[in-house]
Amino acid sequence: MAKARTFLWRGGVGAVFTVVLLPMLAVMYLSFFDQEVVSFPPDGYTLRWYVNAWEQREFSRGFVNSLQLAVVATVIGVTLGTAAAYALVRARLPARGFVNTLLMGPLAVPGVVLGTALYVMFVQIDDAIDFQIVATLPGLIAAHVLLTVPWTVRLVAASLAGLHPAAEEAAADLGARPWTVFRRVTLPMMRSGVVAGALFSFIQSFENLELTLLLVGPGRSTLPVAMLNYLEFRVDPTLAAVATVQIVMIGALMLITDRFVNLSRVVS
């Protein structure tokens, strides 16, 4: 009986992992197929799609654009989000619940809707004060900050909520001024939340398509947009190769991060 239950449990866990991992493994597998139109079984295996991806100027340019965008949006979003999370948890704000919901808002709105709304707003601002935001890099960064803030607020607030304010009081009692208390005690104690927030923010921004698609300027395509453009004309495993590189990169990023902070502690 107990044995059967263990078996069922393990089988269930295995099934869940399979469902989660299978698409990723399938993409990685596909990227080595030696034929333009994917069919099974493959005719053979090749690395030429990786070579092709490398040779596409749109992809390398898109990669650099995405990287810049994600880094800047993450730095801004994590700074603002950390400050917001600190205020939400520690200060007794009058409209705490409302502010929290507002900050989480972007997570609940579909990217296309958010992108359209922002586009319309940017055009309106353009009309009103003759200041161009549509199709500019600052405009796109501002939009991506909307993606990074909720993740940071969520994760930093979670890591802060578990910390007793007594350590901060002890620091103040020993002569530390408020800014010193924050820098020397609060910030290090919520480090894992901040790092996890930064990681998730980066991933969100880096692989965002819907929002970016509506706000990106000509010649500034990010990697996901470049991939979509490619897909309009050709369907070959090149995209699978690009996706594989992304999966490996993000996986590596998570593993490295996990070595410095215990991610599972914050995320769960």
Partner: protein, 354 residues
């Protein structure tokens, strides 16, 4: 010379009065314990001294300077917190050195003082350990060292022993007291444990519902409690209610009981400590029937039912052959005590405060 003066301190939260009209002076080198049940305002008082809570009214003076408006970092206090509140991301030495660093003390001197403080709490050799590698007792000593190392004008302790097991608690109690006396620290100590307060403090402040009930030495409070709250909170006490008919004649349960002290005639309470009562076969002032005899090793407790109400008597466990030894539940005995051990106090209805 650093003394602490608390003058008319009051703190309200909405309609709730947490602390009301607390006046207290702690002399240089004195250890005063704030004692009371939870919610009596003792911790709020301590936090107002440290600067974490702003008083609604009143003043706090440290070494003659009014610090009521000063932030925590602007006060010459150091506090040992209930949960220690150590910095988990720093080593033991970094924790202890934090206050020195904030006081801009140069590194060489800082290191000397850290080493010295760690030796003081018997943690030499632990400087580079992480906090998570220490036991509860060791963490407690780091918290002590961190506060002591800055040589504070006023040393504050917020139930520092409540997270330790009973044996360690008794040990650390003696250590803290010895350190405090050796360093001559002006100390305010918050506890709900009366034994802790009695053994450590020069003077006790018994608080209840935001007010000070009585201030005095442990002996004063135990032997001469001001009211039935203090009498029953500090140690165990039999409180017999009755009527004072004339000076010296207190009647409870229809019997005249030995009493001392001046009070207006009328309803009164008689406080008698359980160890002051004698048990006799006959001829005492109060007959009683034993309901339970509890053997506690060195002491034995006798629970009795009397016409004046239930009474507890504690005696050093009688030797074999002593007639007391033979007493069992159901036996009838007589109780008696010297006049001076029967302390007359007022009867206060619940909720009434002087």
């Amino acid at each position: 010379m650093t003394n602490l003066v608390i003058d008319g301190l009051r703190r309200t939260y909405g309609a709730t009065v947490a602390v009301d009209r607390v006046d207290l002076e702690v002399a240089q080198g004195e250890l005063v314990a704030l004692l009371g049940p939870s919610g009596c305002g003792k911790t709020t008082t301590l936090r107002m001294v440290a600067g974490f809570v702003q008083p609604t009214a009143g003043r706090v003076l440290i070494g003659g300077t009014d610090v009521t408006q000063a932030p925590p970092y602007g006060r010459d206090t150091a506090m040992v917190f209930q949960g220690y509140a150590l910095f988990p991301h720093m080593t033991v030495a970094e924790n202890v050195g934090f206050g020195l660093e904030m006081r801009k003390i140069a590194r060489p001197e800082r290191e000397t003082r850290i080493t010295e403080a760690l030796r003081l709490v018997r943690l030499d050799g632990y400087a580079e350990r992480r906090i998570s590698q220490l036991s509860g007792g060791q963490q407690q000593r780091v918290a002590l060292a961190r506060a002591l190392v800055v040589n504070p004008g006023v040393f504050l302790l917020d139930e520092p022993l409540s997270n330790l097991d009973a044996r360690l608690r008794a040990e650390v109690r003696v250590e803290i007291r010895a350190l405090q006396q050796r360093l001559g620290l002006t100390t305010l100590f918050v506890t709900h444990d009366q034994e802790e307060a009695l053994t450590m403090a020069d003077r006790l402040v018994v608080m209840d519902r935001g007010r000070v009930r009585q201030i005095g030495s442990p002996e004063e409070l135990y032997e001469r409690p001001a009211d039935i709250f203090v009498a029953s909170f500090l140690g165990r006490c039999n409180i017999l209610s009755g009527v004072l008919e004339a000076p010296g004649s207190f009647r409870a349960g229809g019997l005249l009981l030995p009493s001392a002290g001046e009070r207006p005639r009328g309803p009164a309470a008689l406080a008698v400590r359980p160890e002051r009562i004698d048990i006799r076969p006959d001829g005492g002032c109060l007959p009683g029937r034993l309901t339970m005899v509890t053997y506690l090793g060195g002491m034995t407790e006798f629970h009795l039912e009397t016409p004046a109400g239930p009474v507890l008597v504690t005696k050093p466990t009688p030797a074999q052959g002593d007639p007391l030894r033979a007493l069992v539940a159901g036996d009838t005995v007589h109780l008696d005590w010297h006049n001076s051990f029967g302390r007359l106090l007022g009867i206060e209805p619940e909720g009434d405060l002087p």
